[in-house]
Symmetry: C2
Subunit: 357 residues, 2 copies
């Protein structure tokens, strides 16, 4: 099989387990415990009636979704890009903006503890990269990204899997400002649960791309919708690459239901508010049980117990049908990442933890 010599060999990203056990409490992939907005169900009924339209290609420019996002965020249409989840959007951004042509370009920089897909994309596209160690308390030292030597920067804010948020003013903005010669991607997958966003900076800095997703705050992980915001030139370059990969990425249901979700702001605020309230209550509970807990601004918590190894807690929870996430990375291998579920789910989790500890 000598065709194998020309195969692009990669170490792929491993997504969180999708266990096939019955009756589990699934707190391992940061899904939202509440259903999508009721308007999404109405959009599903409407599309069912006109199902014959599925024979046609969707709009390659994703017009209806771009229009709706433009209205929702008050951002011009030519500053918006959409894709098949924020992973697709980030993948396109990596492929587009980090095509380092010579050794003169600095490396792509991102924290050593962050979303574990960044180094996968960098490896896939042969992008030279360098990880910047976070502090011992897992916070990012923004100054490490302000040295002006980067070829590109990716920062998740809030960061994953720590959940810790950097202020935009005085930190994220400094990173963007210090690196005018490279694209800075701010991955705001969890920003709806936090206090900060760099969205308002896209008009001020032409090198800033802000990425968002429907998978967490909009309860639509199953629909695969993500988006990016940036100046029209950045977005145009991404669209050129998108049209070189797959012209029709977003299927008709994704476009229709993506629009419907934006039309129910009250439901959105209510469910995000409930998750934030459960998160804050859960932080206290974890602390009472002796855990150290980062100050997460997301829909998950990152916790560690001084007496009981994370792998043991992980296994004991799993035996009880509660699935959480553990990362085999030496700096954080005594931590567990636990998605915020409903209050009832969290109560079951805490009852199990009391037993285990």
């Amino acid at each position: 099989m000598s065709w194998e010599k020309n195969v692009r060999k990669v170490v792929p990203y491993v997504p969180g387990e999708q266990p096939k056990m019955n009756k589990i409490i699934k707190l391992n992939t940061n899904e939202n415990p509440y259903p999508p907005a009721p308007g999404v169900q109405e959009a599903m009924k409407a599309l069912t009636k006109t199902f014959g339209t599925l024979r046609l290609y969707p709009s390659p420019t994703c017009d209806m979704l771009i229009d709706a996002l433009s209205e929702y965020y008050g951002i011009d249409k030519d500053k918006i890009f959409v894709g098949v989840g924020s992973d697709d959007v980030l993948d396109t951004a990596f492929l587009t903006f980090f095509d380092f042509k010579d050794k003169q370009s600095g490396n792509l920089l991102f924290p050593d503890i962050t979303y574990s897909f960044y180094d996968v994309w960098a490896s896939l596209y042969r992008i030279p990269y360098e990880t910047v160690p976070v502090n011992d308390d897992l916070t990012i030292n923004y100054r490490d990204f302000c040295k002006g030597n980067a070829g590109g920067i990716v920062i998740a804010n809030p960061n994953a899997p720590t959940g810790i948020e950097l202020p935009v003013k005085g930190a994220i903005e400094e990173i963007i400002k210090s690196n005018p010669d490279c694209v800075v991607i701010v991955d705001e997958a969890y920003a709806d649960f936090g206090d900060e966003t760099a969205l308002s900076l896209i008009d001020r800095y032409d090198n800033l791309l802000v990425v968002r997703t429907y998978s967490k705050s909009r309860s639509m992980a199953g629909m695969r919708i993500g988006m990016a915001f940036g100046n029209p030139k950045l977005i145009k370059y991404m669209n050129d690459v998108k049209f070189s990969v797959n012209s029709y990425t977003m299927n008709i249901p994704a476009l229709c239901y993506g629009v419907a979700s934006l039309h129910d702001e009250e439901y959105f605020r209510t469910t995000v508010g409930k998750i934030v309230a459960t998160r804050e209550r859960s932080k206290e509970k974890f602390r009472k049980l002796g855990f150290s807990v980062t100050d997460s601004k997301t829909n998950f918590l990152f916790v560690s117990h001084p007496l009981k190894p994370a792998t043991e807690i992980f296994a004991a929870l799993r035996e009880r049908g509660i699935i959480v996430r553990h990362f085999n990375n030496k700096r954080i291998d005594n931590y567990l990442r636990i998605t915020i579920g409903t209050d009832a789910e969290m109560d079951e989790l805490f009852a199990a933890l009391e037993e285990i500890l």
Copy 2:
């Protein structure tokens, strides 16, 4: 904006026009004139009832769809890959199999007249490629691909936009057999409308990948579903790359409706049969009007008139609300590609053509 120096600059594929005129006859993007199988509508109703599940990530391994395709085609699950339309599948295959590491590898080969995305992907991923001229009658000379000097081969069968089919025995199989050291992709987007398929060869040749789509014969262009069949090693390599790009490509509706479509074989046979009958009738009509017509085995015809330039016919049809496809490629710029619509649509087309000529 010196970040622009690291931008991957590309000449993107230009998809067929999606005109926003009212009441048009759309024969330009090879969509199916009939709706998807009625079972798809039932699946939509069912998913609407359980819409809360959209909060969860879809299966990253696309189990339900792979299972259903395995049963439908009688092909083992580990020989099947699925993606967001066959464009996504082909893109993944290009990225996976044509990572030429040295000058010793031959070039990627494909015909000069073929699906216009192949050179776009090759350019995007910096894959050295070479186009092989088709004969003057637009047929492919399969021997040109049997010289054993290729680093990779892509053949659409039937070919686009000519619609002409090569026999598998004695042509496609010879190409595969002559190139054991490189991957041969047979793009069978239109094969359901023809007489030939290389599917049965995947167990005999480990270098063969056969690609299919739901967009044409299954009337589901709007759902973005494509698949590939090959030996488990090929498929594993593609999955490794897929999991390095986007773990969750297929959304929940795509998985559910993709399965439903496979369950109504009679509807499938009937609608494909109707299109083939309309195609054959249309070939005659075109010939009677003085057109030269290739022997298309697809859901489109490729026609040229000896007296009236294609661009003039194109414009005159468009004025009458009939949209067809014209390619600005000097070897075929006097041809039009015309999708097979319903009999009624084709009658309107022929009435218009009689007026125009």
